[in-house]
């Protein structure tokens, strides 16, 4: 078990290093120059040279990389090209919002996806099964920004049930602030859950169908266990394992979806920061955001692995 944990942790560190390296070189290989975005017109060669020096872009690429890695190991993510403030400061401002949105979507998807998948499998061929399949396939094809705008138009503008964008009313305090937060969270959360839920429920349904045909399930039934106990205690436990792995992998998609969701809903998270920083080619900000997200996804997958290990005795003992 110790070997399992050690291998996973080392693999996580390697993954983060690879993500950091790819991000660093990918940004610099873009056929664009961040200094050109600072002023439109009237950019003298001297001003451009001064900016390149200020941004540290005048040094050879490998030197820039070495300097960046050195600073990163010291926990310094650099200073934003455009905002002139430490990247870590901005990210810490934005991260809680993304954690709240993506974390809530992650949890809700599991809480709703499990019963949906289970009931579809148990009621195979029945109305519930067909509904889940149609929903799953449709949801899988949805495009986040389109759904987001549709939700805003229907529930925000036409019905007036939810606010149009933003994360909270900054004038509220205490309980009202928490209620405002939940009120603003509802639509972006719904749009993210909607697109995640389909694939998750379908995967769980397929796994459940496989598991329900296994001998040990039949054996459990023949021993007199109730169908309810057989399904929820024995079948689900085994059907959950691949679904858990899927959720770990889907976290990356969830974070990617958050970039679009946060932009449309004017939600002040890391996703929107990435959208804004791409437009400005703010390398330090983009690097910092991607490192942060890579760490988040890798850690979440690490946790998923650990949970799988707890649920699956074969992993524990191998």
């Amino acid at each position: 078990m110790l070997r399992f944990v050690t291998t996973r942790v080392l693999r996580a560190i390697l993954t983060i290093w690879i993500a950091v390296t790819i991000t660093f070189f990918l940004l610099r290989l873009l056929p664009a120059d961040p200094t050109l975005l600072v002023v439109e017109g009237d950019m003298t060669p001297e001003m451009q040279a001064a900016l390149r020096e200020q941004y540290g872009l005048d040094k050879p690429l490998l030197v820039q990389y070495a300097l960046y890695l050195g600073e990163l190991l010291r926990g310094n993510l650099g200073v934003s090209f455009r905002q002139l403030v430490p990247v870590s400061e901005v990210l810490l401002d934005r991260l809680p919002w993304t954690l709240l949105l993506a974390g809530s979507a992650f949890v809700l998807t599991i809480l709703i996806g499990i019963p949906l998948g289970v009931y579809a499998a148990v009621g195979r061929g029945k109305v519930i099964d067909k509904l889940v399949q149609v929903f799953g396939i449709t949801a899988n094809a949805l495009f986040v920004p389109s759904i987001a705008i549709m939700l805003l138009v229907v529930f925000g503008s036409n019905l007036g049930w939810f606010p149009i964008g933003q994360a909270i009313d900054p004038d509220t305090r205490g309980l009202a602030a928490y209620l405002s937060l939940l009120h603003h969270l509802a639509l972006p959360l719904f749009s993210l859950v909607l697109v995640q839920l389909g694939p998750y429920a379908l995967t769980l349904r397929t796994n459940m169908l496989e598991v329900l045909g296994e001998d040990y399930i039949k054996s459990a039934r023949s021993r007199g266990l109730t169908p309810r106990r057989t399904i929820w205690r024995h079948a689900l436990r085994n059907a959950m394992l691949p679904a858990l792995t899927l959720m770990g992998l889907q976290l990356g998609t969830l974070i990617g979806g958050a970039v679009l969701t946060e932009t449309v809903f004017a939600y002040p998270g890391v996703g929107r920061l990435i959208y804004e920083s791409v437009r400005q080619l703010d390398y330090p900000m983009l690097q910092g955001a991607f490192v942060l997200l890579a760490i988040t996804v890798v850690l979440a997958n690490l946790v998923t692995d650990m949970v799988s290990m707890v649920l699956n005795p074969r992993i524990r003992t191998s």
Partner: protein, 546 residues
């Protein structure tokens, strides 16, 4: 429930609680928000005007070059010597006027002594001198280029500042007066290196509104400056201006419809304007532009060096139809390179190139071009046209021009690419035809210097033209201080560039700004989306609807 499920539920509960605790900790109580401690920005006015903006403030230091959305907020805080009125004319803001001495080599600004900073310190000539010298020292932003000829800045007295130039430059006062923000010397001189000064708290301004607090990612709150001298008698009726961030313009439109905001700072896209026309409580204000869309020909590339080819290309562009269909009528045609918004440089005597693809083909055949291989394209007349794909209007223009050019035997290959790639390509000269839109030219002289001088001082001579005659015309006009003579020389350059067909001007786009006319009225808009409805002066004139 089995152990695994129980553990999973426990885990999700912990994650949810943790996230909520993280986000909710000190919810709305200083979390991510900054409040100014400096200055007295209190105002008796109660009205709050909410404006939609597309992005957070990137940089609060007005001396650095800034994004358009930054300038909406910072221009309201830090006054300029001159501002641009609704007719694109420069009129006094912090200066009461200017004059030239020493045959144009000394430019004298008289300051409006009523201006004072929000901490009670008067705005003086020392502040102007400090701002100009800081920009020159640190080479900050595009204003640095406008101060190229400044040898020294003299404080003649508390309210008079003199710029001594190495040579006369006709539009110096207008350019520097409009573009250079004035910062409080007593605050910024304490900030150390101004090229890295973030200026993100404790703001002291002298404009119509000054930042009071912000919640990054969401909202920026400005309070009216009770000492702003250009507000109506009794002070601005709008006491608080809030900028609310909506990165997606469709969401911003919904917020306006819903009454969450009162004004969209960004123009309404042509495709959405129709849906807002006639909407309850919403009005659209049409504002001109200080820039224009154009096709610019890289004369270093093959047949584009040939004047006849450039003229033929100008004849395959149907600007009237483009304005009618793509801009849905919200634009003005142009003839030469000087925009009709600068009425004093009237160039209506020039004959526009007619839209005539057949005539263009005849012109080319007369010039010796032929279709030797019978593929329908005149030999040597295949060009790549680059454009910024984020500009929906221009990508549509590109398609129209390509089809019309084919009729004249000219093949155009489109390369509409991502904006940053487009900028890198145009700066690197990697294009044959550049289809783009100038943002803001506040005066024709600066425009002509930047776009046509062989020395390419601003890096935007996208023709890459090296024309000694044109250089001489531009340099001569730049030295001319007499206004009438100056106008004549600018008109002559306009005619020369038009005849050379160095560019095909497409249109001056009208911007349409949407606002809640059931709540507010009295905006004083200025041309361009840089200024639009949201200048400090404009906001100070706004009154709530009873």
């Amino acid at each position: 429930m089995n152990n695994g499920t129980r553990r999973l539920r426990a885990l999700t509960a912990v994650v949810t609680a943790g996230v909520l605790a993280l986000t909710g900790c000190g919810l709305n109580e200083g979390n991510g928000s900054t409040e100014s401690e400096g200055g007295s920005t209190a105002s008796s006015a109660q009205a709050t005007l909410r404006i939609g903006t597309t992005t957070d403030v990137e940089n609060f230091n007005p001396l650095q070059s800034l994004s358009k959305t930054d300038s909406w907020i910072l221009n309201a805080m830090y006054p300029h010597l001159l501002r641009i009125d609704e007719n694109a004319e420069k009129v006094p803001e912090a200066a009461t006027g200017y004059s030239y001495e020493e045959d144009g080599k000394a430019v004298v600004f008289a300051l409006d002594e009523r201006f004072q900073w929000t901490d009670g310190t008067p705005l003086t000539a020392e502040d102007v001198k400090f701002s100009a010298e800081a920009i020159m020292q640190y080479k900050l932003g595009n204003v640095a280029a406008k101060l190229t000829w400044v040898e020294s800045v003299e404080v003649r007295d508390e309210n008079t500042v003199v710029f001594h130039l190495s040579q006369p430059y006709a539009p110096f006062a207008e350019g520097v007066g409009f573009w250079m923000p004035i910062v409080p010397a007593h605050v910024f001189s304490e900030a150390g290196d101004l090229s890295t000064f973030a200026n993100d708290a404790d703001w002291v301004g002298a404009g119509a509104y000054v930042l009071d607090s912000m919640t990054r990612g969401q909202r920026y709150t400005l309070k009216a400056n009770p000492n702003y001298p250009h507000a109506p008698e009794g002070g601005a009726a709008v006491g608080t201006v809030e900028y609310v961030v909506y990165p997606d313009v469709n969401t911003m439109i919904l917020a306006l419809r819903n009454g969450d905001i009162d004004l969209m700072g960004t123009p309404v896209p042509a495709s959405a304007a129709a849906s807002l026309e006639g909407a309850d409580g919403i009005s659209l204000e049409t504002v001109g532009s200080l820039g224009f869309a154009h096709l610019t020909y890289n004369v270093t590339k093959g047949a584009l060096a040939d004047q006849a080819v450039r003229q033929a290309l100008s004849m395959v562009v149907d600007t009237k139809s483009i304005i009618a269909t793509i801009l849905q009528g919200e634009g003005q045609p142009m003839v030469g390179p000087i925009s009709p918004i600068f009425a004093q440089f009237d160039n209506t005597d020039l004959d526009a190139y007619p839209f005539d693809p057949e005539g263009a083909r005849e012109l080319l055949e007369k010039a010796g071009y032929s279709d030797g291989d019978g593929d329908g394209v005149l030999d040597g007349l295949s060009f790549e046209m680059v454009c910024d794909q984020s500009n929906a209007n221009l990508t549509r223009v590109a398609e129209v021009v390509r089809e019309d050019a084919a009729e004249a035997g000219i093949q155009i290959n489109l390369a509409c690419v991502e904006r940053n790639t487009f900028l890198a390509r145009t700066r690197g000269g990697e294009y044959e035809i550049d289809l783009s839109q100038w943002g803001v030219f506040d005066n024709p002289m600066d425009q002509l210097r930047s776009t046509y001088l062989s020395s390419n001082p601003g890096g935007i001579n996208y023709n890459l033209v090296q024309d000694a005659e044109l250089d001489a015309l531009v340099n001569d006009a730049a030295l001319t201080v007499d206004e009438k003579e100056f106008v004549g020389k600018i008109q002559a350059i306009d005619a020369y560039v038009h005849d050379q067909a160095l560019l095909t001007p497409l249109y001056v786009e009208n911007f349409r700004f949407a606002y809640r006319s059931d709540r507010f009225e009295g905006f004083a808009p200025s041309p361009s989306d840089l200024l639009g409805m949201v200048t400090g002066y404009s906001l100070a004139q706004v009154t709530p609807v009873d």
